[in-house]
């Protein structure tokens, strides 16, 4: 016991516990989470839903973007003034060395080549001085206005164009401003995540069991984390771009001399790297929005109206304990993890900065296909789980019905088991109910109970891979297609 306590109080564990507590505290502060005091749970939930309607990360992002932007412009103007003198010093040093080389040449020096080299260098220095004067005064014809800003905006617009061209469920038109494009993406992301925030908030406030509350808190945490993480990743790119802008005067100085031109080239490479990262992040944010949208539509469409669960706590319990919600947590965590990989991936692409659009497009398609396969795999897992449970229900039912048929009386436990199996099989469309409440086997029931064998197993795998768990249940409940197999001719209850 003492040893366990000592283990718990180890330095790294304490740090971890403090981090978790700090994280929960931050999330609580951000959410404005409060205990239900005065007013009903319903009012609290309605308020929560209203709160989730606005995009609070957008204003944070806009604020951070403007602060970073204005800071970089001020820094750049200040450095541009210093850089003119630096350019002069560098030119004077270059000239001194150049003349010394000319004077101290062992062979008869070529005067024409000397003056040509001097004229070329003087031209570069004059050009650089002009650019620096423009940068310092903030002229609209400066390098930043004419070259760097359009390039950066172009990268963001490329990302948005790929998104718009791929026919996703939302669009962010390129408005000529990188800030507006990014805010549009963040707004779309928060719009989708608000659905999970709504249901999780409601689970925390009005959850019928502690487990529901805990699952709700889990979804709440990952949703808020994702809402903050993606804007932070976009801001990271903007931040690096702004550092580059602040250093632009020094890059101009470096460009003027042959020996330091590598530094300017490095600046250009960083610019391409940041641009590709922005394209990757924009596209990935859009893919994330689409994946969450599709997941909610396919697996948990009922969470779009969370207020419905207030009147039906048992439904809420069922939904929160179901595979859909757990899958949502995994999907969100996977997307958060993959966002970092995207930045690394785009960094690798920028090493050879060719085929820009093609690279971004192929990345987008790769991510989309990967997400699609991931979703299909999740669907397959759910279908397999459902099939096993269905088979078990059929087996239990057959066994108990046989016992009942032989004249033996069922125990209370067995009766409950039979009732549960019948309920499941009716819900899943394997049994049909007539107007008198009698249950009848369907074709789907017979197909599922066909027995073992490699062929049946392979057929089941194929069906599970391609079918949708919710849609296949609904299809089976349509008894005009899935007919009763025990020869019953009367009317069935809808």
């Amino acid at each position: 016991m003492v040893k366990q306590k000592r283990l718990l109080l180890q330095k790294d564990r304490i740090a971890r516990i403090v981090c978790v507590l700090l994280f929960v505290f931050c999330l609580t502060c951000l959410s404005g989470c409060s205990l239900v005091s005065g007013g009903s749970q319903g009012n609290e939930a309605v308020n929560a839903e209203k709160e989730t309607m606005s995009c609070w990360t957008c204003s944070l992002f806009e604020l951070a973007f403007r602060v970073i932007d204005s800071m970089s412009v001020n820094l750049m103007a200040s450095i541009a003034d210093s850089s003119v003198s630096l350019l002069g010093v560098c030119y004077a040093l270059w000239l001194a060395i150049y003349i010394l080389k000319y004077v101290s040449a062992m062979n008869a020096p070529d005067t024409g080549a000397f003056w040509k080299g001097l004229a070329v260098q003087t031209f570069f220095v004059t050009l650089g001085a002009g650019m620096l004067r423009d940068l310092g005064s903030g002229s609209s014809s400066s390098v930043i206005e004419m070259i760097t800003d359009p390039i950066f905006t172009g990268f963001v617009d490329t990302g948005l164009m790929i998104i718009n061209a791929s026919g996703l469920s939302f669009s962010c038109p390129s408005q000529g401003s990188p800030e507006a494009g990014m805010v549009c993406l963040i707004s779309a992301l928060q719009g989708k995540l608000n659905v999970s925030v709504g249901i999780s908030y409601l689970s925390i406030v009005a959850g019928p069991t502690i487990f529901v509350m805990m699952v709700g808190a889990g979804i709440y945490c990952v949703s808020i984390f994702m809402m903050l993480y993606f804007p932070v990743l976009l801001l990271d790119c903007v931040f690096r771009y702004c550092i580059l802008i602040a250093l632009l005067p020094l890059i101009v100085v470096a460009f003027c001399f042959k020996i330091t031109r590598g530094f300017a080239k490095q600046g250009g490479q960083i610019m391409v790297e940041i641009g590709l990262a922005i394209v990757g992040m924009c596209v990935f944010t859009a893919v994330t929005v689409e994946v969450i949208h599709q997941y909610i539509d396919e697996f948990i469409p009922y969470v779009r109206n969370p207020l419905y669960f207030l009147d039906d706590p048992s439904s809420m319990d069922k939904v929160m304990n179901g595979p859909g919600i757990t899958g949502l947590i995994f999907v969100i965590l996977f997307l958060i993890y993959f966002a970092d990989v995207i930045l690394d991936l785009m960094g690798m692409f920028s090493e050879g900065a060719g085929g820009l659009g093609k690279t971004a497009q192929s990345t987008y398609s790769g991510v989309k296909n990967l997400s699609k396969t991931g979703m299909q795999a999740a669907r397959f897992g759910i279908n397999r789980g459902m099939r096993i449970k269905d088979k078990k229900a059929i087996k239990d039912r057959e066994k108990l019905m046989k016992k009942q048929g032989s004249g033996k009386e069922l125990t209370d436990k067995e009766k409950k088991k039979l009732e549960k199996a019948n309920d499941r099989l009716s819900d899943r469309g394997f049994l049909a109910t007539d107007r008198k409440g009698n249950l009848h086997k369907t074709q789907a029931y017979d197909n599922l109970n066909k027995g073992k064998g490699l062929r049946n197993w392979a057929k089941g795998i194929g069906e599970d891979w391609h079918s949708n768990p919710m849609r296949s249940s609904l299809d089976r409940r349509d008894h005009s297609a899935n007919k009763v197999s025990d020869g019953f001719k009367g009317y069935l209850d809808d």
């Binding site: 210093s82 004077a92 000239l95 000319y102 690096r240 250093l247 960094g347």
Partner: protein
């Protein structure tokens, strides 16, 4: 260069250029005039050096012609 290396290197350069001493030196007009004056002197030196070189070349050519 990794992201953190970029932050450190570029941020370091920015920091150096924002220090008071560097700004005072580089942004003062007297320093700029001194630099411009130095450049002008160096250009004059370049002109004189090239003229001297040309004269030396001509003299050398004349001497070569005489010896022939």
């Amino acid at each position: 260069m990794s992201k953190w290396q970029q932050y450190i290197v570029l941020g370091g350069i920015l920091f150096i250029f924002q220090t008071k001493g560097v700004r005072q030196i580089f942004q003062s007009s007297s320093f700029l005039y001194t630099v411009c004056g130095t450049i002008a002197v160096l250009l004059v030196v370049a002109v004189i050096a090239s003229v001297c070189t040309e004269k030396r070349k001509e003299k050398q050519k004349e001497e070569d012609d005489m010896s022939l």
